[in-house]
Symmetry: C2
Subunit: 203 residues, 2 copies
DNA sequence: TCATTAAGTGAATCGGCATTCATTTTTTGT
DNA sequence: ACAAAAAATGAATGCCGATTCACTTAATGA
């Protein structure tokens, strides 16, 4: 015979799952990827290590979930902000600004989305590469549109988009790792200008 | 009593050390960082695993040696080529071109110098960050000079240099991982143009 | 309340890899 | 050729953290 969970139990389990994800995010943000062990996550979430495996098949799935969650969060904010503008330039610019704002508020997201973590198995690492790829292809869509509108000269938009993302990535990593530039928001403006010139914006 | 090594033995040991480094480079280039185990290195070098430790105190030192060697190799080539030009723009441009040429010839160097490998311990990882930093500061030196000469407008050269390196890094990583762009040398020209415009080159 | 099922526990297991070390082989100097 | 010293060997050790599992506790439904 099969027993059905009551709502109370369902709720408890849901909140446990949430707490595990939250614990993972916290440990990742505060400490490092390396110290994100199942034991420490379980401890922070207030459960036994074995319990973890009742909620996630393995560590990989957990990290994947966390990454996905952070990515969706960021994308949601970007989309909301983009919808306020008509011009593709403005959309592109605001996308970057939102990214920077989120990264400043939650450094963990920046680390997770921009750093590489080959310490995890290969197959999984593709998740990270995937996110980077999707950032590039989002920029590429904007660039293609700008090109169609004749607002930037003919160019290989894949390379331009990659370069574009590369400038941000490198500066943000420097900010994360070296603490330079001190003011990332200011640097963001500089970067936007750099890239607009680089794209050959016709103004 | 202490015995002195004969030249023959010295030579044998020197060549063994070389072969270990070579084996490490090969495994790294052909396979991946993960599969670069002492056992596999020793096997490829034709020695027993224990013998490795007669030549290197530990794995960290070996990798550091390999990285240093590749970095010096690249820098040597860049310096040689730069010396042929007078204009800082030309020096900057040729630096990039040499990098790309070397990266095409030896993908392992590109991976080692541009990827991050947090799977190795922290203290060591700084070696990689260090290299990235030094690439940026080399570019910054050129940009400062260009600015002094009034060939580019006033700007935060640290950010510009970081952005500059970022564009290359991102495109080269895409080339390594996605196989796109197919022709890296062609992309290099595009990138140089992108960055020249981005810097606001006054021509 | 009670028998049954499900959730929770954490010590023990397992796997992978760097490092060590007792033993063997080679080299050295007489 | 021989004894001392150095180099080489690779099986054994140690470590570390993910995953498992025999057992305990809680929840379910009659």
């Amino acid at each position: 015979m099969v027993y059905n969970k009551t709502q109370r139990v369902k709720d408890k389990m849901d909140s446990r799952r949430e707490r595990i994800i939250k614990a993972a995010r916290e440990i990742f943000t505060e400490d490092s990827f390396q110290s994100m062990s199942i034991k420490s996550i379980a401890k922070k979430a207030g459960i036994a290590t074995g319990t973890f495996y009742l909620y996630f098949t393995n560590k990989e799935v957990l990290v994947e979930t966390v990454v996905q969650e952070m990515y969706k969060e960021l994308m949601g904010l970007i989309k909301a902000e983009r919808s306020k503008y008509e011009s593709v330039f403005d959309k592109l610019q605001t996308s970057m600004e939102v990214c920077i704002k989120v990264f400043i508020r939650e450094k963990g997201i920046a680390k997770l989305l921009l750093k590489h973590f080959p310490e995890i198995n290969m197959a999984f690492n593709n998740k990270f590469t995937e996110i980077e790829k999707s950032l590039i292809s989002l920029v590429k869509i904007d660039l293609d549109e700008l090109q169609d509108q004749g607002l930037i000269p003919q160019q290989n938009t894949y390379i331009s988009a990659t370069a574009f993302v590369g400038t941000f990535r490198q500066v943000i990593l420097s900010w994360l790792q070296e603490g330079q530039p001190e003011n990332l928001e200011e640097a963001c403006q500089t970067l936007i200008e750099y890239n607009m010139r680089g794209l050959g914006k016709i103004s």
